[in-house]
């Protein structure tokens, strides 16, 4: 019985180590990629952006050309807290270094109509460590809780037999 308990502990520790290794590998891989300059043209139209999902790597310099195709729109990037605006025929622009990782929502910052509060797009700066870390925490909790239950029940059973 004790062997099984030790085995459970070893498995949990291994899972934890594997998770740490996965996150480290993600970080090391992202560090190994050379930063690039990214030119992105974003078009805004009631109530969506094109492209609506953008992916860049950490360290990239992102240059955005912001175009409105109908009314006055804005572009606000969560996390970086930067913004630009555009009227039809009058573009906006934005340049920044993608030094924070994760998924960030960009939103229209000018009230452009009824669905304006929900006009959004995603910029993902790889590696998305926030998602990886929380995901691994959840898996770890699931596995640990199960091992813990098995451990406790076996101990109780053993005590009962005595």
């Amino acid at each position: 019985m004790r062997r099984k308990n030790i085995l459970s502990l070893v498995i949990i520790s291994l899972v934890g180590l594997i998770m740490l290794a996965l996150i480290s590998a993600q970080i090391i891989y992202s560090e190994s990629i050379n930063p690039q300059e990214r030119f992105i043209e974003i078009k805004a139209r009631k109530f969506s952006f094109t492209p609506n999902i953008i992916k860049v790597n950490k360290g990239d310099t992102v240059k955005i050309r912001f175009i409105s195709e109908d009314v006055h729109h804005g572009f606000f990037l969560d996390g970086y807290q930067i913004q630009t605006k555009a009227h039809p025929g009058q573009e906006g622009s934005l340049t920044f270094v993608a030094d924070k990782t994760g998924r960030f929502t960009y939103r229209c910052s000018v009230a452009c109509g009824e669905f304006h509060p929900y006009m959004a797009g995603y910029l993902t700066v790889e590696p998305n460590l926030r998602f990886s870390v929380f995901g691994l925490i959840i898996i770890f909790i699931g596995l640990t809780s199960f091992s813990f239950i098995v451990f406790l029940e076996r101990r109780e059973k053993k005590n009962g037999q005595r």
Binding site: R45, S48, N52, G102, T105, F115, F131, F134, I139
Partner: protein, 470 residues
């Protein structure tokens, strides 16, 4: 016998009675409470309705009605009112006041004798959550309107108030709140998780007290308007916290307790498919709401706001399918695996399905709290504007009409959402195994039967994590 401790820390039978304090007990026994709060809320809702009516089709983010209801009220409900204080919103809700007035013929004091109105009994077959389930789901079909268009908010709230009034005339007591109100169902479901409860204190006192004034009423208070039996009920789901039982109990045997979160999930009474489906519907709605409102997909937004009939019909069909069929279907499959792995063939899959559906309650609440961060943090600053100019008439009552749109802590939103999902997942897991032990008679069966459900919970929470952060 060893105490059952949540996370090995909090005894799940621990209670702290707030009504032990004389001031709180006197307040709860006063007929002015909660009437005063209801009247304040009624005044607020008159302004909300007026703003909705006058706002017409203007953008909702500058409308008092839309912002107060769908941003402030919703977020308060999900962040504080339900998880902490159970159905405290029902305590202060102004919607049924007109029906109550007809029935009682007065607002403050107790009317003796038979209540007014037709006083009919609610149909037996509908004494469950199904009407609320379908009603709430159908309400969300129009989410692309009432969350953004003031007039749509007016029509929705106005309809709820009118239905509450009409049903108050026809059916006894709070039948509307119990069986129809779209807001009531999910509050009832998630209030099982909340950290507050109303319960009787001493079983023996209630046993000896034959008149059962808490149920039939007396000179000081009405018999339970929510048709529960205050002397014996065991879970928050159907207690509207109206406090009448505090007034009508001659022995002061009712208590308002603070307790560990989620303990009602272990109450076996009144578990049913209606409550199980409520959990799935709430998860389905969370997925659909997130994708349409906080997601980047413009074509979904077009569908929701009915730019074409075809698009909207596709949206409501997919939405219904996800909430009513796909989610429960996948869970049914995992429930079947649970039975298979447990090795116990005597327990029905139906029982396993129903019992384990209660593990979704903490997680579901967490999913909605995480979703609500995405509503309040980017849009909360609009509230300052509408407080100064509630009708869009160019007023500047408190000097904040010109306050610019300012997203607050949106840089931290992912962390808030991730942490919320993790915390509530922990509660689901903690209660899940206890429910497994209730479901399967032998420990070994409970352990094995728990594995597929744990996998399901983990899978679902990862899906939401991906939606919010991935």
């Amino acid at each position: 016998m060893a105490k059952d401790k949540l996370f090995g820390l909090i005894d799940i039978n621990w209670r702290f009675e707030l009504t032990r304090f004389k001031l709180i007990r006197s307040l709860f026994k006063s007929r002015w409470f909660p009437l005063t709060i209801i009247l304040v809320n009624l005044f607020l809702f008159v302004i909300i309705l007026l703003a909705g009516l006058l706002g017409g089709f203007s953008p909702g983010n500058f409308n008092f009605g839309v912002m107060m209801v769908w941003i402030l009220w919703w977020v308060l409900l999900m962040f504080v009112l339900v998880p902490v204080f159970s159905r405290i919103w029902c305590m202060m809700c102004p919607f049924p006041i007109f029906g109550d007035w007809i029935q009682r013929r007065r607002l403050l004091m107790v009317a003796e004798g038979k209540l007014g109105g037709l006083n009919k009994k609610w149909p037996k077959k509908l004494r469950n959550m199904w009407v609320m389930n379908i009603g709430f789901l159908m309400t969300t079909f129009f989410s692309g309107f009432f969350t953004i268009k003031p007039l749509a908010t007016f029509i929705l709230l106005g309809s709820i108030i009118l239905i509450a009034f009409l049903l108050g005339i026809i059916f006894e007591k709070r039948s509307f709140c119990l069986y129809v109100c779209p807001v009531s169902g999910f509050q009832g479901l998630y209030s099982q998780f909340s950290t507050a409860e109303i319960r009787r204190k001493n079983f023996d006192i209630c046993k000896k007290h034959k008149p059962k004034t808490c149920f039939v009423g007396d000179k000081k208070g009405y018999g339970c308007p929510w048709l529960v039996t205050p002397f014996s009920f065991k879970k928050n789901t159907y207690c509207g916290m109206c406090l009448e039982c505090f007034k009508s109990c001659p022995y002061d045997n009712m208590a308002f307790n603070i307790r560990p979160p989620g303990v009602d999930l272990l109450v076996k009474e009144k578990r049913g498919l209606d409550e199980a489906w409520k959990s799935f519907i709430m998860l389905g709605i969370a997925i659909v709401f997130f994708m349409t409102m906080q997601g980047p997909w413009g074509f979904l937004k077009d569908m929701v706001r009915m730019t074409t009939w075809q698009g909207w019909l596709t949206f409501i069909s997919a939405h219904s399918l996800i909430s009513l069929v796909v989610m429960p279907g996948i869970f049914l499959l995992f429930s079947y695996f649970s039975r298979l792995l447990s090795g116990n063939k005597e327990i029905s899959v139906r029982n396993i399905f129903i019992n384990f559906s209660y593990t979704l309650i903490p997680m579901g609440l967490g999913v909605w709290i995480a979703f609500s961060f995405g509503i309040i943090l980017p849009n909360g600053s609009y509230i300052l504007h509408i407080l100064s100019d509630p009708f869009g008439w160019g007023w500047n009552l408190i000097g904040t009409a010109g306050f610019p749109w300012t997203p607050i802590w949106t840089n931290l939103m992912g962390y808030f959402q991730g942490a919320t999902l993790v915390i509530f997942y922990l509660f689901s897991v903690a209660y899940g195994y206890r429910i497994s032990k209730q479901t399967y008679p032998k420990t070994e069966e409970a352990i094995r039967g728990w594995i597929p459900i744990l996998c399901f919970l983990t899978l679902i929470v990862i899906v939401f994590l991906w939606l919010y952060l991935g």
